[in-house]
């Protein structure tokens, strides 16, 4: 693969039909990044519309004795999760490229909501592909998307979750490529998407580093984030990559541990670490949290794992539920089940000062938590 490589991972494994669109996207993104007006408009939206900067707050009652745990409150963003950092940037890019229609995939629905949100703001048509099983377990987000004017299309085959929704979104893009912008939700997919999403989510890490140094006058020992596709983690890690004393810890769902238990394989246009069999066939992932229920992961995470810059561990459904309840009871915050996995591992991580990415709020998960 000659483009979009993270040490061999990444690339563009897509049908020829999409290559011109990906080339257009790549050059459009390069031009946008270099454009001071684009940058200014994005910063302004992040401030006025998204609500940035998000606070960095200490969870003194949640933290075990002898540990300090700080929470980067992405749950306080407009729409309740970090996903919107990515969608505002990609919406600006879609408009810049002259596209009137946006197609997206969604797992838990947070990216779908964030996509529908910005499409409403920018007057773009929005179609979100979502697995029928995910639609069942994340009902409030389905309702939200529809109220925001998006069309939510159920995907009724395979595992009926994020894997199939992503494939369907890509097929939709292939069929409508001239007028459609594909707004991917995580740092996955063919180049240049992993790079674009990482650069848009890097605002999390930049802010967090500034805030922790201001507040504690030191860097944390470890930065911990949940990893599904990997976007909140790559965004948070991006702020600390050059700080070699800071451990970067990604927490996957035990049943969807692409980095811990996967192998090198191709998924959704990218070579990465994937839950796949020996033939390269992609396997089903299993997690109580829809946002982590993805058998692949962003290629940059596979690279960070291999180089040893980041470490990846897992948490179970049970541990995530327990962490949810604990944060609720000790800090009055209901986390999304996805970052509850990061919270679970933060509690027993061998480190003193830990910064955790609280990537989203748990309103969407109330039914699931109450059912367990």
């Amino acid at each position: 693969m000659s483009v979009g490589l993270f040490g061999g991972y990444g690339g563009r494994y897509v049908p020829e039909t999409l290559i011109p669109a990906l080339d257009e996207l790549t050059s459009g993104w390069e031009a946008a990044k270099a454009d001071a007006d684009f940058r200014a408009e994005l910063d302004s939206l992040l401030e006025r519309y998204v609500g940035r900067p998000t606070p960095l707050d200490e969870a003194a009652r949640f933290a075990p004795t002898g540990k300090r745990i700080l929470l980067k409150r992405e749950d306080l963003c407009h729409t309740g999760a970090h996903k919107i950092n990515n969608t505002v940037g990609q919406a600006l890019l879609a408009v810049r490229l002259g596209k009137r229609r946006v197609v997206a995939e969604t797992g838990a629905g947070q990216h779908g909501v964030a996509a529908a949100t910005v499409c409403a703001r920018f007057g773009l048509d929005c179609v979100v592909h979502m697995g029928a099983e995910d639609m069942r377990r994340q009902r409030p987000n389905v309702d939200r998307m529809r109220l925001l004017g998006a069309e939510v299309r159920p995907v009724e085959f395979g595992t009926k979750t994020l894997k199939e929704a992503t494939s369907e979104a890509i097929r939709d893009w292939i069929a409508n490529v001239d007028m459609t912008y594909y707004m991917i939700g995580s740092c996955v997919g063919p180049h240049p998407y992993p790079a674009i999403v990482r650069e848009l989510q890097a605002v999390i890490g930049r802010e967090a580093r500034e805030q922790v140094v201001e507040k504690l006058e030191r860097l944390p020992d470890a930065v911990v984030a949940c990893v599904g596709g990997g976007s909140n983690a790559i965004g948070l890690f991006a702020g600390f990559l050059d700080d070699r004393s800071v451990r970067l810890v990604g927490v996957e769902a035990e049943g969807a541990a692409s980095l811990v238990a996967g192998r090198t394989a191709v998924i959704h246009g990218s070579l990465s670490s994937v839950l796949a069999d020996a033939d390269g066939q992609i396997l089903d992932a299993h997690s109580i949290s829809a946002g982590l229920d993805y058998p692949g992961v962003g290629p940059e995470h596979a690279y960070l794992r291999d180089t040893g810059r980041a470490e990846y561990v897992t948490a179970t459904d049970v541990e995530a539920l327990a962490a949810f309840r604990s944060l609720a009871a000790t800090e009055g915050i209901l986390p999304a089940l996805e970052p509850a996995h990061a919270l679970a591992r933060a509690l027993d991580l061998d480190a003193e000062v830990i910064l955790v990415g609280l990537s989203g709020r748990g309103d969407k998960d109330l039914a699931e938590v109450l059912a367990h």
């Binding site: 049908p15 669109a21 097929r171 292939i174 246009g269 069999d277 033939d279 066939q281």
Partner: protein
């Protein structure tokens, strides 16, 4: 799609007038395929058609028919099997070439394969694909996935015009060609047609149904 009945079905297709046979090696997440081929792939995977079984199917089909056989699949299978190892084992098993639906023309030039171009391809990419293709160039007729369509895509004619200006390599049109009249219309513009989903549908009715369907295409092309 590779399966236990492939040798028999291939023989039926050849009896009906097919010049070569594409054999699908199924992949769990085929981005270029519509519902018909996707479902066939799912069934094949459930029936145990992993890479080794597909190569064995290729071998058995090779022993049954004389026409070129071309495995069509996705990068994931080659990545897992080993790119060079797959190419050489496929060749040993009787493959005349390969079609990889999600490997762009500018990647892995050493892997001999039939290249695909689409209505969205730039002239530059068409020239590159034509220079690198193994034997013939696969013209994807429409902006979309595989699957039967009611009309022949209007994007084919302008694509053929552009491609003819750039290369003299034989051109076969495929995706969405499902009836004898569509095949005839496509064949007027190109050197051949590829029929996938519609043939799959006929094959589901059995070998005789497939032979009749292929014969109807052959008649329309004469």
């Amino acid at each position: 799609m590779a399966g236990l009945e492939t040798p028999e079905l291939a023989a039926a297709a050849v009896a009906g007038g097919a010049d070569s046979i594409e054999i699908g090696f199924p992949f769990s997440d085929p981005l270029a395929d519509g519902p018909a081929i996707r479902r066939a792939a799912e069934r094949a995977l459930t029936a145990g058609m992993g890479t080794a079984a597909c190569l064995d199917c290729l071998r058995r089909t090779r022993a049954r028919v004389a026409v070129p056989l071309v495995p069509m699949t996705y990068s994931a299978l080659l990545e897992a099997y080993g790119w060079e190892r797959f190419a050489s084992d496929a060749e040993l098993a009787g493959a005349a070439s390969l079609i990889i639906a999600d490997l762009p023309a500018d990647e892995r030039p050493e892997l001999r394969r039939v290249q695909l171009v689409a209505p969205t391809s730039t002239d530059e990419r068409i020239a590159l694909a034509a220079a690198r293709t193994d034997g013939w160039l696969y013209l994807v007729t429409l902006t979309g996935t595989t699957g039967a369509r009611r009309e022949l895509s209007p994007a084919l004619e302008p694509l053929v015009e552009r491609v003819r200006r750039l290369t003299a390599v034989p051109l076969y049109a495929g995706f969405g060609i499902s009836t004898p009249s569509q095949a005839a219309a496509a064949a007027e513009l190109t050197d051949g047609v590829v029929v996938g989903s519609a043939a799959l549908a006929a094959a589901e009715e059995g070998a005789s149904a497939l032979e009749r369907f292929v014969a109807s295409l052959r008649a329309a092309l004469s």
